[in-house]
């Protein structure tokens, strides 16, 4: 696998960081207002580095060693921390989450270590944070997944439908606190949907 040079587009240089605009940037104040009103945190967490990894099981050990990331062997499991984690999306598919700007290095490392495919998807989705004691109530209005702690504990993730959009749902903490990773063009819809479901 080769990476075309000179600069693989999609990557971020510090000089250009302020030219970026995340899908919900224009709505940050509005989300903050709803958070204050409802007591449920609803905010965008923009620019998380995200890498989509496809790999055969036999190379996983090598990939882990190369990039220093623990890879969950189970689908819908998460390993790592909120800052740096790997989400099991499918039997041969993972989503790597890392701090802003880290995608390039991760892709490079994975490719070098023999990943089947490693694609920077940092700009493909944005992240919506939903947290607070009533966050589960909010989500239960728009998502049919079993969110009970017995079924969906901290460290679980799932790809599912939230309203009428697909999202990667990731429970960060034992108390209700979620990340919803959603494709950029659906972010406005997701925000509208969640705002509509907030306690009033």
């Amino acid at each position: 696998m080769t990476v075309t040079s000179p600069a693989e587009p999609g990557t971020t240089g510090a000089a250009t960081a302020d030219l970026r605009r995340s899908p919900l940037a224009a709505r940050a104040a509005e989300l903050a207002e709803h958070t204050a009103r409802s007591g449920v945190l609803l905010a965008e967490e923009p620019f998380l580095a995200q890498v989509n990894l496809r790999a055969a099981p036999d190379v996983l050990d090598r990939l882990e060693a190369a990039v220093g990331i623990p890879v969950p062997r189970g689908v819908n499991e998460v390993r790592g921390t909120p800052e740096r984690a790997v989400l099991g999306l499918g039997p041969d598919e993972w989503l790597i989450i890392a701090p802003d700007g880290a995608a390039d290095g991760i892709v490079g490392g994975l490719v070098a270590a023999g990943a089947g495919s490693a694609v920077d998807v940092s700009a493909n989705r944005t992240t919506v944070r939903l947290a607070g004691p009533r966050a589960r109530d909010v989500l239960e209005q728009v998502c049919s997944l079993d969110l009970h702690p017995r079924a969906f504990a901290a460290g679980s993730c799932a790809q599912t439908l939230v309203g009428r959009t697909q999202a990667v749902l990731w429970q960060l903490t034992p108390e209700p606190g979620y990340r919803l990773l959603v494709r950029g063009s659906f972010a406005g819809y997701l925000a509208d949907l969640l705002i509509d479901a907030l306690p009033r």
Binding site: V75, N76, L89, G90, P91, E93, S144, L145, A158, Q159, T160, L161, Q166
Partner: protein
């Protein structure tokens, strides 16, 4: 709302899936070798029985994997 057993994600609601019809209908190894009748069979003719039916689903909004199951087309129960 059927509850469909994804082999990877466990039981999930039908809305997350797309139906793929009869399972195990392979693409002919050499389509050019087939006569019109055999090719039409591949394109258009599928089993349609009452009772246990081997069918495909894809977990479209979940793990995106295709899988086969056997479902009773009258009771909708999935064979274990």
């Amino acid at each position: 709302m059927l509850l469909i057993p994804c082999p990877w994600c466990g039981n999930r609601d039908e809305v997350e899936f797309r139906y793929g019809g009869q399972a195990q209908v392979p693409y002919p190894a050499d389509p050019a070798a087939l006569d019109d009748a055999a090719w039409a069979d591949y394109l258009f003719v599928r089993a349609n029985q009452r009772g246990g039916y081997a069918e495909r689903w894809v977990h479209a909004d979940g793990c995106r994997r295709w899988f086969d199951v056997v479902r009773d087309t009258v009771t909708n129960e999935f064979a274990p």
